[in-house]
Amino acid sequence: MLTSKLQQFGNWSGQGVKYFHWNKNSGYISIWVPLILLLIWEGLCRFGFIRVTILPAPSTILTTLWSMLKSGELVRHLGISIFRVLQGYAIGAAFGIVMGIMVGLSRKVDQAFVIIFGLLRPIPIIAWMPVLILWLGIDEGSKITVIAIGSFWPVLLNVVDGIKNVDKKYLEVARVLEKSKFETLTKIILPSALPSIFTGLRVGIGIAWMCVVGAELIAASSGIGYLIMYSRELLQSDVMFVGVFSIGITGLLIDKILLIIEARFLKWNVNSNL
């Protein structure tokens, strides 16, 4: 049970994920298991089993969170990171969709890029960071680019997949009704690929969020990754954990928002999760 919950939290593709289940069988298990763990953690700190300079008590982290929220420091760093994500993600997702449509529709384009994509895709995104810093400096450019690269791949793959898996029977209907290629694309192929495109967009934003933190850890003077790095240097472990947990919470919120948007768009999709 616990492991499956953890997998769900770490599952960025998140298909079929419902974060909290309230039903008679499990009761409020998804609430009280973490609560008990928090209590144990708090107790271990209070009674001196854990050195609070390494792992501060949950209550300390909460107090720090509250004061950082009040001072606006946390919001400022989060805001900067989110803004970077939005810029990079917009570029990466747009390229992913356009490229995915072309690869999905044309065998020629597919063949033209098969080796290039096959070679570039396995490269861990963070490995691009030094290269990009060399090319673009340590400013925003390198961070946004690394986010764009990171979100490009999942969007690309899912768009291609969605387009290639269009039901041939639908295409036959279009042929009987003498639809043009353009109309077939906009009225049949794209709508039927939409669930898959949305999956790509959701995986993409998850990775974009990981990329921004990674990039900020390496070189930045602001943002949530920088906050974590800097507080480690100052041995402010409570600030560090506020940073770490706010990454998790923001990621979860972003995913939820995308799910809601998806549900709006895909009312017709009976297989959808919401």
């Binding site: 209907v173 009987v176 009704l177 009225k187």
Partner: protein, 259 residues
């Protein structure tokens, strides 16, 4: 009335390329259909009856022989020839109305489209379901939408490829009555492929019995029982017997050889 046949099929052969050589799907098929006629094609699965429909509609080319509709040779799909498939093939992201609207081939004003869609929703008895998505409709209702979609262009010929094959027995009988009513109202020439012998006798003015591998016309039976037909009528049952023996004669022979 014009003497020339509306649908004219002469010496049609069709072979498919398969891994181990060519497969002959149709061999010397000949058929003539008069305008306004309701012709049913029966045959075992794999006898090429669906292939024949695809050739008529223009979904497949590469055959030898002549197929013409209204004195014109077939060159790909055309608004004059509609097709209904076994599955309704509705687009799940469009409502019933929008699915029907997808059927329009010729450009007409939105106002006119709306009017025609409404008329056709009434024609197929789906009033009040225009805004429903396909997954909210039953199988029979989905097939009604797909019939409406095929009819909005007023096709002269409507081909139906086992249209009720996926429906349950009771819905099937209901849909057979519906399609008869629509045929009498619209006077469209209908060419219906089925493996349901009963369905063929109930609906057809003529029944074409096809034999399998390679598919060819085995027998053509005129059904002169007035519609709506009583399925227990003596003549009805006689025709049924005739079709059974035409379809299974070959297999009986095979059995005899085997013994």
């Amino acid at each position: 009335m014009n003497k020339s046949e509306f649908l004219y099929i002469k010496n049609v052969y069709k072979t498919y390329k398969a891994e181990n050589g060519d497969v002959e799907a149709l061999s010397d098929v000949n058929l003539e259909v008069q305008p306004g006629e309701f012709v049913c094609i029966v045959g075992a699965s794999g006898c090429g009856k669906s292939t024949l429909l695809k050739l008529i509609v223009g979904l497949e080319n590469h055959f030898s022989g002549i197929i013409s509709v209204g004195n014109e040779l077939i060159k790909g799909p055309d608004a004059n020839r509609g097709m209904i498939f076994q599955e309704a093939r509705l687009f799940p992201w469009l409502t019933a109305e929008e699915n029907i609207g997808f059927g329009f081939v010729n450009k007409i004003s939105d106002k006119e489209k709306k009017k025609i869609i409404e008329e056709h929703i009434e024609l197929v008895n789906l009033k009040g379901f225009g805004k429903a998505y396909p997954h909210q409709l039953s199988g029979g209702m989905q097939q009604r939408v797909s019939i409406a979609r095929a009819l909005v262009n007023n096709p002269k010929l409507l081909t139906l490829d086992e249209p009720f094959g996926a429906l349950d027995a009771l819905t099937r009988i209901q849909m057979q009555q519906e399609i008869l009513r629509i045929w009498e109202f619209e006077k469209t020439t209908m060419l219906l492929v089925t493996h349901d012998i009963d369905e063929a006798i109930y609906l057809g003015n003529r029944i074409v019995v096809m034999s399998e591998r390679p598919g060819t016309v085995n027998l053509i039976i005129d059904v002169n029982i007035p519609k709506p037909r009583d399925r227990t009528n003596y003549e009805y049952v006689q025709i049924k017997k005739q079709i059974y023996s035409a379809l299974f004669r070959e297999e009986f022979k095979l059995l005899e050889y085997a013994i």
